[in-house]
């Protein structure tokens, strides 16, 4: 079963984040949310490059960095496999760091709309429940 | 690699103008030879005049074409490109030269010529042809016009040239050496041609506006020759074009459009101060005395050159007429003013030519001619005939039906040829009548041209 890169990754050329880093972050996010399961093979560098219309060297760089970190494992003749799904404490910090900018926006907007902290907590609860079910 | 040569030849013969010129070239060579063999010698000679004129344009064009092919990034970056194109060019040139050499019998029926004289003539022709090719290569269109005029003068004096070649046999060797030099020089220059070289810009660029940019680059170094004359005559290069004088009369308004091109007044002055004295010196030689036997033989030169120059100076600007119309000026008014500009240019060049080449020399060497009515009728006729030709061409310029253009073109060319051939034999009455006809014709054509151009799309 081959994965279509288009459905898993999106790259933005207008973002300040280099493309290879965008791919790395998205791989890690998918692993953390369970969308990419252990022992699943990622599409080849060529395929990803072709579907996302980016330079294959960029994808290659992302893959090799992920391999160095131990997130992906290279299997001879077959490609890159998801190696780790367990999450270390260090990863937790990193993931929290990713949420912070979004949350900052939420807090600012809530203040603009004069929504209290308690109201926001309640909203978060109900949305969390919805997401779990859906 | 074998397939390149046919591809390159295709470049020559698919070029519409080159194709037409070549067809006329080969046809006239063929027809003239056939007429000579059929003992129609007078007609044979006339057709060879056509051949002669076409050859001049053809050599000029070939210079342009070879540069166009080599003033290209491909010349430096495609394998074997330069070599193959140059080979093709020289082979083609050789073919055309051989055609002329095979034709040379066309001269024989008219006059007795010795072998020496004939070789001398051929050597001279080859040198002239190569010179014109060089001018085409350097894209010096304006100089070509003057060169053309010079060659026409020389051509009319074939008989006297023959005498020169008879007496000075060594001349043909000098001329041949000169030709060889030009050929080798061209080959060397073509091998080395890169974008840094001043002649890289070329005539007939596409799209037409790029042509002007390229032509400016190419002619910049030529115009620098005129700088000393600018100082002598204290002509200042104007820093900016003044605003359009909306309330002035037609004549003054029209000067606005001519502002940039009017720098040519400097070249007029240049030629008057340089060419006129040279010309005087030249015609004082005993061989040249016969040149003035009949002043009326220079009709072609005196009428056609101003027309060509006037048209040439406007051709440059024609691609900008669309932009000019964006200014707050009505189209009818603009067309009128443009017309005045062209006519004024024609008039100024005609006056310069007629004064330098006819009035002054005759005043100095044969003042009695100036008292005859015939002379002044002739004088006027050169002007009115140019006027007619110019307005006719202007009228054809806005004609979209190509068939009509070709027909009119043939009629006009024949008219020119007839007048040119028969002018020496005209009586005063015939000259005066021609004046009237030309003038009326010119006026009618002006009106027609005006109406036609008002309907034109200026893109």
């Amino acid at each position: 079963m081959s994965i279509k890169a288009k459905y898993y990754f999106t790259v933005s050329t207008s973002s300040g984040v280099p493309i290879y880093r965008q791919i790395i972050d998205q791989v890690k996010t998918h692993i953390a949310t369970g969308r990419l399961e252990m022992d699943v093979f990622l599409p080849s560098v060529r395929q990803v490059a072709k579907e996302l219309v980016v330079n294959p060297m960029t994808v290659s760089k992302a893959y090799s960095l992920l391999e160095k970190e131990g997130v992906l494992e290279s299997v001879r003749g077959q490609g890159m496999k998801v190696h780790k799904t367990s999450v270390s404490k260090k990863d937790l910090e990193k993931r929290e760091d990713q949420m912070v900018p979004l949350l900052k926006e939420v807090v600012t907007k809530a203040r603009q709309l004069s929504l209290s902290k308690e109201k926001m907590a309640a909203l978060l609860e109900s949305l969390w429940k919805e997401n779990k079910n859906g | 690699m074998k397939q390149t040569l046919p591809q390159i030849f295709q470049l020559y013969f698919r070029n519409p103008s080159f194709r037409i010129l070549s067809i006329i070239f080969f046809l006239s060579a063929l027809i003239s030879k056939w007429l000579y063999l059929a003992h129609q010698t007078w007609w044979a000679e006339d057709v060879t005049t056509v051949l002669f004129i076409v050859t001049l344009w053809l050599t000029f064009y070939m210079g342009l074409i070879v540069k166009r092919q080599l003033a290209n990034h491909r010349a430096s970056l495609l394998p074997g490109y330069r070599r193959q194109h140059m080979m093709c060019f020289f082979v083609l040139y050789l073919i055309y030269v051989l055609v002329i050499m095979l034709w040379r019998d066309g001269l024989r029926p008219m006059i007795e010529i010795t072998e020496h004289a004939q070789q001398g003539i051929l050597a001279a022709c080859l040198l002239a042809a190569l010179g014109v090719t060089w001018i085409g290569y350097l894209s010096m269109g304006r100089i070509f016009i003057y060169f053309y005029a010079g060659i026409l003068i020389m051509a009319k004096q074939t008989l006297y040239l023959l005498d020169i070649f008879e007496q000075a046999v060594y001349l043909k060797y000098i001329l041949s050496a000169g030709s060889l030099l030009l050929v080798v020089g061209l080959a060397v220059r073509l091998t080395r041609l890169k974008e840094d070289h001043f002649e890289y810009g070329y005539l007939l660029a596409w799209p037409p506006r790029k042509y002007i940019v390229d032509q400016v680059k190419a002619s910049q170094s030529i115009s620098n020759i005129f700088d000393p004359w600018l100082k002598i005559f204290r002509v200042k290069r104007a820093p900016a074009i003044p605003p359009y004088p909306r309330d002035a009369n037609l004549f003054v308004r029209s000067r606005h459009w001519d502002y940039v091109d009017r720098m040519s007044i400097v070249s007029i002055l240049f030629w008057m101060t340089v060419a006129a004295p040279l010309y005087m010196l030249f015609i004082q030689r005993p061989e040249m005395e016969k040149f003035f036997r009949n002043v009326y033989t220079n009709f072609l030169l005196l009428t056609m050159t101003p027309v060509l120059v006037a048209l040439g100076s406007q051709y440059k600007r024609i691609t900008y007429w669309g932009y000019d119309l964006l200014k707050p000026v009505k189209k009818e008014s603009y067309v009128k003013e443009r017309g005045v500009v062209v006519l004024r240019t024609l008039f100024s060049y005609w006056i310069v030519f007629i004064v330098c080449l006819v009035l002054i020399p005759n005043y100095v060497f044969k003042p009695e001619v100036l008292h005859t009515l015939k002379f002044w009728a002739f004088f006027l006729l050169t002007g009115t005939f140019s006027f007619l030709t110019l307005t006719w061409i202007a009228y054809l310029g806005c004609e979209s039906d190509s068939k009509r253009v070709v027909i009119h073109g043939i009629i006009l060319a024949s008219l020119v040829l007839i007048y040119f051939s028969l002018m020496p034999a005209f009586s005063i009455l015939e000259m005066v009548m021609s004046n009237v006809v030309c003038l009326t014709g010119g006026v009618i054509l002006t009106k027609l041209a005006y109406r036609g151009w008002c309907e034109q799309e200026f893109v």
Partner: protein
């Protein structure tokens, strides 16, 4: 020689009094996609023409595919493809004839590839060159440069006249080439979003010199914009050194500073030295280009 397809060392070029290139050095690795950025009039076209031997350099040395460009060997020309900014010739020739004409000079010509591209890019081969629009003419130029499957492809503003769909096709085509075979691509452009996708090396040309030259990822890691808020006066160089600061804009207590050679520690350094709060903004290539050209 094999590592770099283009090597230029201290080259200078001037037109009369105007110095366009000033002791410029550049190297393009084999197989890379190299983007040349620069403002209009910075000299991109001049640089490209010098690298290909169309202009003569007044000083310096250039090696392209191991050969001197002023006088290329024929074998080198077989490996080289060039797409100039505008290339209008022979308006009365058709596209098909121009292709046949170009093909006749090369020993190796991939005719099926050309046919495929002509179809994909929707060009009518029977059309006369004179009636093509700027975009179509540019497409033809690009296609012509690919027929002999060169090792080095040099393009001067190849997408200037192409609409977004055509530009996307162009990028896809470049990526196809790069993944199919060993081919280095060198092109100058303004359109930074295309470069972001496709280039792995970039160089920024400014005032006749190369101001940055290296991996695109590295450039984006090194050039950042800092938003600083502080109670006290901020020193001009923020404690980092003058050469690191590209541009600084400040008013009471707030400053926006763009820096080069950025490292993660800078944030902490500044926060410590200036008792400030620092936010690091990532910049895309367009922003970086604007900052470098202030």
């Amino acid at each position: 020689m094999d590592r770099y397809v283009i090597e230029a060392k201290d080259i200078s070029k001037n037109f009369g009094a105007k110095q366009v290139l000033d002791q410029l050095s550049l190297s393009v690795p084999a197989g890379s996609v190299f983007g040349l950025l620069g403002t209009n009039g910075a000299g991109k076209t001049t640089l490209i023409k010098c690298l290909l031997g169309l202009y003569k350099i007044s000083r310096g040395k250039i090696h392209v595919l191991g050969d001197d460009p002023w006088d290329f060997m024929e074998a080198t020309k077989e490996q080289l493809g060039y797409v100039p900014q505008s290339d209008r010739v022979y308006p009365w020739l058709t596209v098909k004839e121009l292709i046949a004409y170009t093909a006749s000079f090369y020993k190796h010509w991939n005719a099926p590839l050309i046919e495929k591209l002509i179809k994909e890019w929707r060009i009518n081969p029977e059309e006369k060159l004179g009636v093509l629009s700027e975009g179509e003419a540019q497409k033809v130029s690009i296609i012509l440069s690919l027929g002999h499957e060169p090792k080095l492809l040099v393009l001067d503003e190849p997408v200037a006249s192409l609409d977004p769909a055509a530009r996307r096709q162009f990028i896809k085509m470049i990526l196809q080439i790069v993944s199919d075979r060993e081919c280095a691509i060198f092109f100058s452009t303004h359109i930074t979003s295309d470069l972001e996708r496709v280039a792995d090396q970039v160089a920024v040309l400014k005032e006749g010199r190369i101001h940055f030259h290296g991996e695109l990822g590295a450039l984006k890691d090194e050039v950042k914009r800092l938003h600083i808020r502080s109670e006290q006066q901020l020193p001009d160089d923020l404690g980092l050194g003058r050469e690191k600061v590209i541009y600084c804009e400040s008013s009471a207590g707030e400053a926006i500073v763009s820096v080069r050679g950025f490292k993660k520690e800078f944030k902490d350094i500044i926060e410590a030295t200036c008792k400030a709060r620092v936010e690091v903004e990532d910049l895309n290539l367009e922003e970086i280009f604007l900052e470098l050209n202030r």
